[in-house]
């Protein structure tokens, strides 16, 4: 026995080695340093849990844990309560305009959630347009600052995470299962509760856990809405860049705790949901139910209301950005002054946003697609490990990863802070899990014998990858590229930790304008961001449509 590497495994192994190198350097090493900062004493020499004791001993931070979890649970419950009937209506009830509803319902996933939060402040905040209008009629309502407002924004922006898989779940229930239940004497209503819903529960929970993780990691929404309420990701940020005394060890403690929480949720999902998928092998999709006009109208109104309500804040921001602001105060006159103010100072933020998103999306594609290839094609424990590591960024809040980047690349042999690359690298690492997930989804559907056919015809594994796999994956890679691009363009949580000097992005401009009370510039930056997000998505839609028509 010799220890030579089999020929057909050389390419995947080479890619795996590069993948481990990249993720090791730009994911594990920074995370290790966050951990290191959290367990070292003030001089950075002795191992100690004192930082943990100190942080967790303070009611303020215990409150942050409690608030974050409570808000996460509440938002998960509200998204599920809203989305399950919605999904059922889309899958099984006669609702007009379903295709449009589904397309619109997916929008909040790509639009920046903190923009929605900011719009809520402009509409319903203390000096909000709606608030003032209602006050003039003598009507008042509770404050939208704090937990209530945060949960509201999370619900409006995250519900598609539950809606889309649940709808797919309802559609995947084989009719014959429901028919079997009814032929056994179960009424349609009882069948829904005892047969259909239980089959869909894993999809609902999977979506719900995604929502929960998103709420734990989110920085922008609580930053806009929490005010005095301590929230984890925000406090980690404040501790790290704190104006008075930056405190990496305390920030590290919060970072580690946050990673522990999200990883725990992910583990729960893997352990309990992976095996809980009820494959019903749906051959015939369930029929649209016949219902009375009352229920039909109710379902239609409900679906359209949720979809439109979730988009109202974005629409409002665009409208408001064309109005006159004096400081944070709004005057109902049409004006393009906000945009002039935004771009007069510099067009750099816009250009930076476009450039960073493009570079990082290219990076994500170039790294994520080959990793997906290894994960799906290499039968080895190594592939499983790579898969886990490539999924890890999903459990790491942008703030925490960025803190790790600063701690790791601020000095020493590789100095990246203060430049643009550290931002591009952070974005790349953050979005790799999405590229790996979507590409391996496509690769699972490509028969490996196509690759073997190409190799046996004389093309090396590398040529086969480029000539057969890449063309076959192209549609998926392109959609993935656009979605990655769009989400990077509105990335906030890592950006605010990593930006410096001239490398501000649109999100940073918004963030600074919010801090400084410059409502006009903030709305202009937000609208620009919305346009920057929607244009590529619209182009992608058209491209896909044309592609489908041609095929």
């Amino acid at each position: 026995m010799t220890l030579t590497i089999p020929h057909q495994q050389r390419l995947p192994l080479a890619i795996a080695a590069l993948g481990f190198l990249f993720l090791g350097l730009f994911l594990l090493y920074p995370l290790f340093n966050v951990f290191g900062a959290s367990v070292l004493d003030g001089d950075g020499e002795k191992f100690t849990f004192a930082n943990y004791v100190k942080i967790l001993g303070r009611p303020f931070y215990r409150g942050a844990v409690a608030n974050t979890l409570m808000i996460g649970v509440a938002a998960t419950i509200t998204t599920i309560v809203i989305s399950v009937p919605f999904a059922f209506a889309l899958a099984r009830l006669p609702v007009p305009g379903k295709a449009a509803i589904v397309a619109l319902a997916a929008m909040p996933l790509v639009l920046p959630s903190f923009v929605s939060a900011y719009a809520i402040v402009l509409l319903l905040g203390r000096a909000g347009v709606v608030t003032q209008w209602l006050n003039s009629w003598g009507i008042g309502f509770g404050s939208i600052y704090g937990a209530g407002g945060i949960v509201l924004v999370y619900t409006l922006t995250l519900y598609p995470y539950v809606l889309l898989p649940t709808m797919a779940g309802f559609k995947a229930v084989d009719v014959s299962i429901e028919e079997a239940a009814q032929s056994l004497g179960s009424s349609p209503r009882r069948t829904l509760w005892t047969v259909t819903l239980p089959i869909v529960v894993p999809s609902i929970l999977a979506g719900g856990l995604l929502v929960f993780i998103e709420t734990l990691e989110n920085f922008g929404v609580p930053f806009v809405l929490a005010e005095d309420m301590p929230i984890f990701a925000v406090e980690a940020f404040k501790l790290f860049v704190g104006e008075t005394a930056p405190n990496p060890s305390s920030a590290g403690v919060l970072g580690v705790l946050l990673i522990l929480m999200t990883s725990l949720v992910l583990l729960i999902q893997r352990r309990f949901l992976a095996n809980r998928r009820f494959a019903t092998g749906a051959r015939s999709a369930p029929p649209i139910l016949k219902v009375g006009p009352g229920l039909r109208i109710a379902a239609t109104v409900y679906c359209w209301s949720v979809v439109l309500l979730a988009l109202v804040p974005f629409f409002a921001i665009v409208v408001l950005s064309f109005m006159e602001f004096r400081g944070p105060v709004l005057h109902p006159n049409f004006s393009t002054a906000n945009f002039t103010a935004l771009f007069e100072r510099s067009t750099r933020p816009l250009l930076n946003t476009l450039m960073f998103a493009t570079l990082a999306a290219i990076g994500v594609t170039l790294i994520g697609v080959p990793i997906a290839y290894v994960v799906t094609r290499l039968r080895s424990g190594l592939a499983a490990v790579l898969d886990v590591i490539a999924t890890l960024p999903f459990a790491v809040a942008g703030t925490v990863l960025a803190i790790g980047f600063v701690v790791s690349f601020n000095s020493g042999w590789l100095i990246l802070t203060g430049g643009p690359f550290i931002m591009v690298l952070a974005y790349t690492v953050r979005k790799i899990p999405f590229a790996v997930r979507s590409s391996s989804g496509i690769l699972h559907q490509i028969d490996p014998s196509l690759e073997e056919a190409s190799i046996s015809l004389g093309r090396s594994p590398l040529q086969t990858f480029a000539r057969i796999l890449v063309p076959l994956m192209l549609g998926g890679i392109m959609s993935g590229f656009v979605l990655t691009w769009v989400t990077i363009a509105s990335e906030l949580s890592a950006t605010v930790v990593l930006y410096s000097g001239q490398w501000r992005t649109l999100t940073v401009v918004m963030f600074q304008a919010l801090e400084g009370g410059g409502g006009g510039i903030a709305t202009a930056a937000a609208s620009t961001l919305i346009v920057v997000t929607l244009v590529p998505i619209a182009l992608l839609y058209r491209l896909i449509r044309r592609y489908e028509l041609a095929a």
């Binding site: 020929h7 028969d447 073997e452 056919a453 190799i455 046996s456 015809l457 004389g458 090396s460 076959l472």
Partner: protein, 330 residues
């Protein structure tokens, strides 16, 4: 065009010995078939030759050249897959040209050879079609043209017909055999269908649990099976204790149903057996019937249809068998 030598080849997956010490020599231009039940290791052995599966032990040579250490894409093999594996992103012509382009053949030569290969598999003029516009049989022809056009040293087929319907299978297997013979390329063909194996092969290797059970010409394995497994896998047979036929010895003997006839239709010199008819099936060209002998054992008989013969369940019959066609099994 080369012979293939397989020496002491072994491969284990976990505890499964997928291929277990196989020795084989395939002659130049021979149509050689690996036949056996599901999971016996046929595909694994074929994929070792193609270079998609590592050997634990042993070696494989094309002529005198050892190839099991070469990367798959340098082995110069044409392979035809069970699911066609036609590239969906290329036209029919693009698929067939794929291996030629890898070999840096000039454009004019590529065009000429693609057209030639397509007409060889009766797909002349289909070059500009897309794979999704073709039927299963046409896709398999594209796959065959694609494998032939590179003029490989060796052609490998892994159950190429199993996704086609029964009629097409029969006509395609004749075509494959004819093509292989006219081009003279050494071929190894994998199937679990013994009729298909017998119709196309020069020689067959019958496999079971990773080992070679018997190697020989189709008629030889059918008529002189070396083991009970070989006798049963190659077709319906009667496995009897020797004393049921009035013979001595231990073990079992195999007697094919067509070696038995009714008393009136058999030559005088054949030994006789008598019993009652237990079951009759008239299948058209042949009639199958079961006869229960005095000792209770049931013997299966097959004979060509005879218009004047009447056979009813429960009737007393006398059978005769050809003593030359009794095979004693080890």
């Amino acid at each position: 065009m080369t012979g293939i030598v397989i020496e002491g080849v072994t491969r284990t997956f976990g505890t499964v010995r997928a291929v277990d010490g196989v020795n084989l020599t395939v002659g130049e231009g021979e149509f050689f078939t690996l036949l056996g039940p599901s999971g016996c290791g046929k595909t694994t052995l074929l994929r070792m030759i193609a270079g998609f599966c590592e050997l634990d032990e042993g070696q494989i040579r094309f002529g005198t050249k050892r190839i099991d250490t070469l990367p798959a894409h340098t082995r110069d093999i044409g392979m035809v897959f069970q699911n066609y594996a036609v590239f969906p992103n290329l036209t029919v012509a693009g698929n067939v040209a794929y291996g030629l382009k890898a070999r840096k053949v000039t454009a004019a030569e590529v065009a000429r050879r693609v057209e030639e290969a397509l007409s060889l598999v009766q797909l002349g003029g289909y070059g500009e079609r897309w794979p999704h516009q073709l039927s299963g049989g046409q896709l398999q022809r594209v796959a065959i043209a694609r494998a032939l056009v590179i003029r490989p040293q060796v052609l490998l087929f892994d159950e190429p017909l199993s996704n086609l319907d029964a009629r097409l299978r029969v006509s395609m297997r004749a075509e494959i055999r004819e093509l292989q013979k006219s081009l003279g390329i050494t071929a190894i063909y994998v199937t679990h269908d013994q009729e298909e194996a017998m119709s196309v092969s020069d020689r067959i290797a019958l496999m079971q649990s990773g080992r070679l059970e018997q190697v020989g010409a189709p008629a030889e394995i059918y008529r002189q099976p070396a083991s009970r497994f070989a006798a049963e896998f190659m077709g319906t047979t009667n496995l009897l204790e020797p004393k049921a036929l009035g013979l001595s010895g231990a073990g079992r003997v195999s007697l094919r149903p067509e070696a038995l006839r009714l008393d009136a239709e058999a030559p005088a010199g054949w030994p006789r057996l008598s019993g009652t008819v237990a079951h009759v099936e008239i299948l058209g060209p042949i009639t199958r019937f079961d006869v229960r002998l005095a000792d209770g054992s049931v013997i299966r008989v097959a004979s060509l249809d005879e218009p004047h013969r009447t056979l009813a369940t429960g009737a007393q019959v006398t059978l005769a068998y050809d003593p030359a066609r009794v095979t004693v099994l080890a």
